[in-house]
């Protein structure tokens, strides 16, 4: 017990002192620029479009293995399955394509979206389940293979397209963005880590045995095939794993916090190419 708390304390004590004055208001445009500048200044050798490749943009040895694996990546089965699922009509004769702009092809980069009608962030995963339910089908588990396959296929059709996230002129949209930002920078779990502790302060460094991915463009690779999972995982699965890794109890998949943080991070990645589905250690 005492030992556990001491671990937490050691981490608190070791954390960097805040560099900036506290301010909880949001200026997305200025923050977008600051966020990008932070990463490009810290990693001057990494090409801007390469950040979406996560740890592989940070480590030469890893990059070589990724290149070898990416010659014929294991997520191809998921993409193929997703393509078949996407093309298969629902019982009512409609299909996924009917729920999306451009029949769902090459649109992944526009998600998450802020939905003015319901006043909340809609991720691609959520839009897919809404589409299913609107057409009389049961929703998929947000963390399982069916959802991963569908989003893998949709990401694949958007490969190379620039992330294009909009914050509509509505206080609720700005509030969702701000809440996402708050979630991202809030320390949690017994290890007292925030998302930023790893992915802003320590990208490229090893934590235990993994090379940490930079937060810039981190959503562009979703969904991912992780060797550690031996399979595909959705954005929800990855976020839940992040929580567990800092000894926090994961939230419900696609809970408001997760959707907001995805919204925030995707906005920060505007202009960077979609690289999903990704392969990760």
């Amino acid at each position: 017990m005492l030992r556990k708390l001491l671990i937490a304390m050691a981490i608190v004590a070791g954390a960097a002192q805040p560099l900036f004055a506290a301010d909880a208001t949001s200026d997305p445009k200025a923050e977008f620029k600051a966020f990008r500048d932070y990463f490009t200044k810290r990693f001057p050798k990494v090409a801007l479009d390469d950040f979406v490749n996560g740890p592989y943009s940070m480590d030469e040895g890893l990059r070589k293995q990724w290149k070898a694996i990416d010659e014929f990546p294991p997520y191809e089965f998921a993409v193929e399955k997703g393509k078949e699922m996407f093309a298969t009509p629902f019982k009512n004769g409609k299909s996924y394509g009917d729920c999306f702009a451009n029949k769902g092809v090459g649109v992944r980069q526009t998600y998450p979206q802020f939905d003015l009608k319901s006043g909340q962030v809609i991720t691609l995963d959520m839009a897919l389940n809404q589409c299913r339910e609107a057409n009389g089908e049961k929703a998929f588990d947000y963390t399982k293979d069916d959802m991963a396959a569908l989003t893998a296929y949709m990401a694949f059709t958007s490969r190379g397209k620039a992330m294009d996230i909009k914050i509509p002129d509505d206080p609720r949209a700005l509030a969702a963005y701000t809440k996402g930002k708050q979630y991202f920078y809030t320390r949690r779990g017994q290890l007292n880590f925030s998302c930023a502790s790893c992915h802003v302060q320590n990208p490229g460094n090893h934590i235990r045995t993994e090379v940490l991915a930079p937060a810039l463009g981190i959503m562009n690779a979703m969904p991912i095939y992780r060797s550690a999972w031996g399979g595909m995982g959705t954005t929800s699965r990855r976020l839940r794993t992040c929580n567990s890794q800092v000894r926090g109890v994961p939230l419900k998949a696609e809970s408001e916090e997760y959707r907001n943080v995805e919204y925030y991070l995707s906005y920060m990645a505007n202009g960077l190419p979609i690289s999903g589905p990704g392969a990760r250690p």
């Binding site: 070589k64 293995q65 070898a68 694996i69 294991p74 193929e80 090379v211 060797s227 031996g230």
Partner: protein, 164 residues
């Protein structure tokens, strides 16, 4: 990568579960591989080699001999594996008359990971992905002109590939 989605149209599927002989698939030329039985390894699969604990035993079971180091065997393996579950390893050789290539992970519970038969007309070069339980020497073995030649490299593994 871009064209792969079209390949499926050209593939033909035959999934047969249970007691189906390998021969039933018409893999005629296999010889020793021509029969199989359910829930057991295919006849001709070198079980003794795959269950050997030491590299010498595995090589003896597989080829009936042991090898010697050669700079004509090229082993391409990472210095630090990104995940022991998936370690890309490639072997190539400039030796003449290569008939077989094997890859051994010396610290794995069973050292032999994979063996490849190279008939005439097929190049002495193969790439595959292997599991490594922990940091280990990896040995590439090339059978050329009836003799075995080897190359060895250490691969550091921080996340083991046998723990799931």
């Amino acid at each position: 990568m871009n064209e792969f989605l079209d390949v499926s149209g050209q593939t033909r599927r035959t999934i047969l579960k249970g007691a189906v002989g390998f021969a039933a698939l018409g893999l005629g030329a296999g010889g020793a591989l021509s029969t199989a039985h359910a829930a057991a390894d295919v006849k001709g699969w070198p079980e003794k080699a795959f269950t050997a604990k030491s590299e010498a035993d595995a090589l003896k079971a597989l080829y009936g001999k042991t090898g010697e180091a050669s700079d004509k065997v090229n082993l391409d393996a990472p210095e630090i594996a990104e995940n022991g579950a998936v370690v890309p390893i490639a072997v190539a050789s400039t030796l003449p008359n290569v008939t077989g290539i094997a890859i051994l992970v010396l610290e794995n519970p069973n050292t032999l990971a994979a063996a490849y038969k190279i008939p005439e007309g097929t190049e002495a070069s193969v790439a595959s992905r292997l599991k490594m339980a922990k940091t280990s020497k990896v040995m590439a073995v090339v059978e050329s002109g009836g003799k075995l030649f080897t190359a060895t490299k250490e691969v550091k593994v921080t996340v083991g590939g046998c723990g799931g």
